[in-house]
Symmetry: C2
Amino acid sequence: MSATIHPLPRRGAPSLQPLMALVAEGMNSVNAVILDRMQSRIPLIPTLAGHLIAGGGKRMRPMLTLAGAALVGYGGSRHYQLAAAVEFIHTATLLHDDVVDGSDMRRGKQTANIVYGNPATVLVGDFLFSRSFELMVEDGSIKVLRILSNAAAVITEGEVDQLVAQRQIETSEERYLSIINGKTAALFAAACRVAAVVAERPEAEELALDSYGRNLGIAFQLADDAIDYDSDTAEMGKDAGDDFREGKMTLPVILAYARGNEAERSFWKEAIAGDRNSDADLAHAITLIRKHDAVHATRERARHYAQRAIDAIAAFPGGDAKAAMIEAAEFAVARRF
Amino acid sequence: MSATIHPLPRRGAPSLQPLMALVAEGMNSVNAVILDRMQSRIPLIPTLAGHLIAGGGKRMRPMLTLAGAALVGYGGSRHYQLAAAVEFIHTATLLHDDVVDGSDMRRGKQTANIVYGNPATVLVGDFLFSRSFELMVEDGSIKVLRILSNAAAVITEGEVDQLVAQRQIETSEERYLSIINGKTAALFAAACRVAAVVAERPEAEELALDSYGRNLGIAFQLADDAIDYDSDTAEMGKDAGDDFREGKMTLPVILAYARGNEAERSFWKEAIAGDRNSDADLAHAITLIRKHDAVHATRERARHYAQRAIDAIAAFPGGDAKAAMIEAAEFAVARRF
């Protein structure tokens, strides 16, 4: 979709490789901060935090901070610590999410709450959250602090909103977008925006990076939610059917319910209420979602937001950073895991 | 114990009344900030937060910020918002504590985790924590942010440390002091210290207020831990015997175990391991604690820290603020609930 923008011809499926190559050296610095600052005199803290942090996440958010810095030509080093702070916020929310959802698997490993218990997982999440603020405070910019503390508050609001919407069949697409704007897109936006702030770029560039991150975050979340019901997907980033069993109102369900006939709507009501959660029920849900093309429709929505992300940075000069960020947005939609 | 310091003769038991009278007007402003900033477009957030916030806590920490401000003669209004931020941090940790401990009663009411469930309680705790940082960031002082963000990190470390020490009979008095320094005293210290910071007082005054708050916090926590085993206590701030059943190594147990004979030590090992948690076991524990005078000894330790708190502010000029802060320290030790 970006053939007219992308500076070099490309073969094959879009990938994260260009983004990863762009930020590889910087990510060594970020990872050094992460490893250093998750330490504590209490050994359980780095052990539990490391279980998730070393557990093979993509580290999308810190990569975006670094990519944003490259896009605006930032030559300093403040972004390493801020990227680590962003990753700590994200890690804290994952730890708490897994407690809240009672999840047992993440990234193909047992979750921290299963290995170390809910109490320790809640408290180490709190520790990482506090530590992320210490990192930001050390940076010393009130403007950066304002952006990231606001993002943190919006994330937690989004998480509560998602919890309230759980098992509520009448959740609308608008409400769902508001939830994922909170729980996912706000931190993507802040991660990108702070790059322009440390580089002291004009506000228009700040807002452009914010918009890139926000739309990219929505695209990633929509694609994630599509993948949970995509029967063609072999490998998954999370357990297949988790959203279904937890009664989460994600877009594939919202669309299948909206497009369904009376019998189908009855099924969805029972399923989202928690009265149908067998493997056969999941298979039936996937059949209904396929019948109404709801995975494809969700991906099309994701494509819309990915395109908005790409257009948000259209005014920046071309180069490796811009190309990598464009391809990352294409990857968000095209990926199957 | 402060007859030579206290400016006015006083009859009867020490009370919090002078402190409450000193800050009553200011606390109206603090409470207005608290009520305003716990709001959210998600109604569950103020409902759940309000369950605890309106639940009759003493609001010691914000009162201390205001008392500290009065002591140093601060004439501005920044401390109202910071006191609210401190109370939000405290409220967030209480919500998470109750989830971690599986508590069902606090301040004579069912806990939020019982009424609203663990998931919502974890997430609303996160929200209040984020919101507290937004309040601090709005104040705009990096120095204040450094003090409070560091306190938040120390608290969370202390909470993890306490969890690790739970059911560990060999916990020493030193280790216990380190835990309560983290989980209680750090925020008391920070709450007092920020008053000197907003008033732009010399560092010696900052440190004096920090020391007052830290020692007062230790005294309060020691007295709390004594009360949980004080058989003479009719009314209690928390459920009697909670610490015992949760296998928490508090000072009364540490002292009774250290001073006990072989048979008594066997009992304590089994009890703290969780193998003796009947009402009869609790009664036996209280008998052993009384035999070794461990509640009294714990109160004597508390008295030591209360005296250190009083001496920490000795160099400030006398007046209502100083008198109220002295009496608050005496109250911390003398109270029976």
